[in-house]
Symmetry: C2
Subunit: 350 residues, 2 copies
């Protein structure tokens, strides 16, 4: 039982030109919506395109154009292993795509600082850049800057943390509400019938991804694990030192912490605290993003599970989407859906 797909060669603009009885140049003008073609001619060409089922060969088009894609990532500049991972993947992909007419660059701006981010977005030169991927807070100023960019024909995607109220073309990242739900389910199940309090570490109330995680977390905690007492979020601003300073109070005020959900960055602070204060009954810890640090913590049993998203996939996906948008080509949503990865000590591999 064989299934094959035998449409020998696809139609080219030559075929269109012949059927529509016009020249190559005219077909090209219609194809690229260039002005200066009579209505009638446009229709003739479009009919031929429909009739033959023509699809443009993007590779050939880019070759002829000498087109070069220019994409920029705007990332937070704080110390953050996960962001470093993304940065590394950008560099890696950039090397690989130098010979595919695609240039990647990145800028780092102060974290959780909407004005700095807006300024960075405004600094993008629409004549030089085809697409921008933004990782940052969702605020009116950021929305305005994105709007400005869009008005100048730049494609914009939000990365890791969505900015749905803006005119961004796509969001590249996990469903953070579902990620929070997953963390809750894992923590709840791993705790078995233990009772006590759950400490939640977050980054910033400005960060939509952090808020969404908390939302999903609370939902499942309330629904499936009502016997556990979830504390208010500790806002660590992704800063290990700040977290280290915040934790003593939290543990003094709450003697019976049985679980910790570290929903943002700065895990180093948490680990340092736990190591120093060898708590009698080690709490079950679920953290975010597989990085060298969380990987080690997982291996040593200091973290029980890590919810993550693949930095390589994130970057490749963002670039594929920006490229497709630049060419007004469709994307494959299944390929671009970033999965919520769950890592236990056993499946984190090399």
């Amino acid at each position: 039982m064989k299934h094959s797909n035998d449409n020998l060669s696809n139609p080219t603009i030559n075929d269109i030109a012949r059927v529509a009885e016009v020249s190559l140049a005219t077909v090209d003008r219609v194809l690229n919506a260039r002005p200066g073609v009579r209505e009638v001619t446009v229709r003739k060409v479009n009919e031929a395109i429909a009739e033959l089922g023509y699809v443009r060969d993007t590779a050939a088009a880019n070759l002829a154009r000498g087109r070069v894609y220019n994409f920029t990532f705007i990332l937070p500049s704080n110390e953050n292993e996960f962001i470093s991972l993304i940065e590394a993947q950008i560099g890696l992909l950039a090397r690989g795509m130098r010979h595919e007419r695609t240039k990647l660059s990145f800028v780092r701006v102060a974290a959780f600082d909407p004005m700095a981010l807006a300024t960075a977005i405004d600094a993008v030169d629409p004549t030089q850049v085809d697409g921008v991927a933004i990782l940052g807070p969702e605020t009116p100023s950021v929305r305005d800057s994105i709007s400005h960019l869009k008005a100048h024909g730049v494609t914009v995607v939000s990365l890791v943390s969505d900015i749905p109220s803006s005119e961004r073309d796509n969001y590249v990242g996990v469903d953070n509400i579902a990620a929070g739900r997953t963390a809750a389910q894992l923590l709840g199940r791993f705790l078995g019938n233990a009772r006590g309090k759950i400490l939640v570490l977050t980054g910033s109330m400005l960060a939509r991804d952090h808020l969404e995680r908390r939302l999903g977390f609370d939902e499942v905690m309330a629904r499936d694990f009502a016997h556990l007492d979830v504390l208010a979020s500790l806002e660590g601003r992704d800063d290990p030192d700040l977290i280290l300073r915040l934790l003593p109070d939290a543990f003094r005020d709450n003697k019976d912490i049985v679980g910790i959900y570290s929903s943002a960055a700065g895990n180093d602070g948490l680990l340092r605290y736990l190591d120093a204060h060898d708590v009698a009954r080690r709490p079950v810890v679920v953290a975010h993003e597989l990085t060298p640090l969380s990987r080690a913590a997982l291996a040593q049993g200091r973290f029980d599970a890590v919810i993550s998203q693949d930095a390589g996939h994130l970057v490749r996906s963002a670039v594929r989407i920006m490229r497709a948008n630049s060419d007004s080509m469709p994307i494959n949503p299944a390929q671009e859906r970033i999965r919520i990865d769950i890592y236990l000590k056993e499946n984190m591999l090399p």
Copy 2:
């Protein structure tokens, strides 16, 4: 702080020809290792290539060649939701790649039948096909058939279940030992301090993926959960009806089954049994592959976790690898590493 990557235009064969003081045709001959070029000339050209850091523009090359890639998948023909998912992804990708000079087809052969598989591999016409992806058992006859294919210049990848003793170019699928370890960890943790027996359903002793999963599962069970009693594998041959017939005996002989690891296909049989025999204390169930059935079971709380691998990624990866191999181009191992996905009810999404 901006990082950019400014090597304006890349060198072309024209540049090589000029530097090496030869014609375009000669450069092409060297590039494609065609015969009939003097040693000295070859060296001159290669030096120019190295000096200029030339990298061939594959898109342009394929355009000139009119090259069409032809890849075939050989899949088992039993009723199996996961295989159907793969098949669907092949169809989907085939449609998308019709305009990228890539043709995909598939054949289905009897499952767990090395001779049928070998026959199917032998039936591949090396003059028509550039690459073959094989999902099937690892036996001497299969190895020989693969060897024959390789000798005729066809690229071969193993899919889902590896065939490492063969000359296959790559394996596309998860690390099944790690998958088994993960299942054990999940099952063990979810069981808390419950005690009793663990039922393991497998497909066939011929299937390397099934064997590897069992291996990893036993390893972690013995190490971390020695208080649980893991039973011998029940060989269900991925057949729901067979599984349904096997289960009553298993449950009669073992009154205290607290956990089930369904490591292969045929989940429908397991679910039907569990529904019909409403066991007092529902065992914790970890199964493999996210399919419509296992998805529903997760949502309803009949499965506690599902270990999976993304069918779309599997197919895209196999095609990318076969394409790269056909062009003797490097692959990006990070992009091709198939992740062990863990699904709970909370993160399976649409």
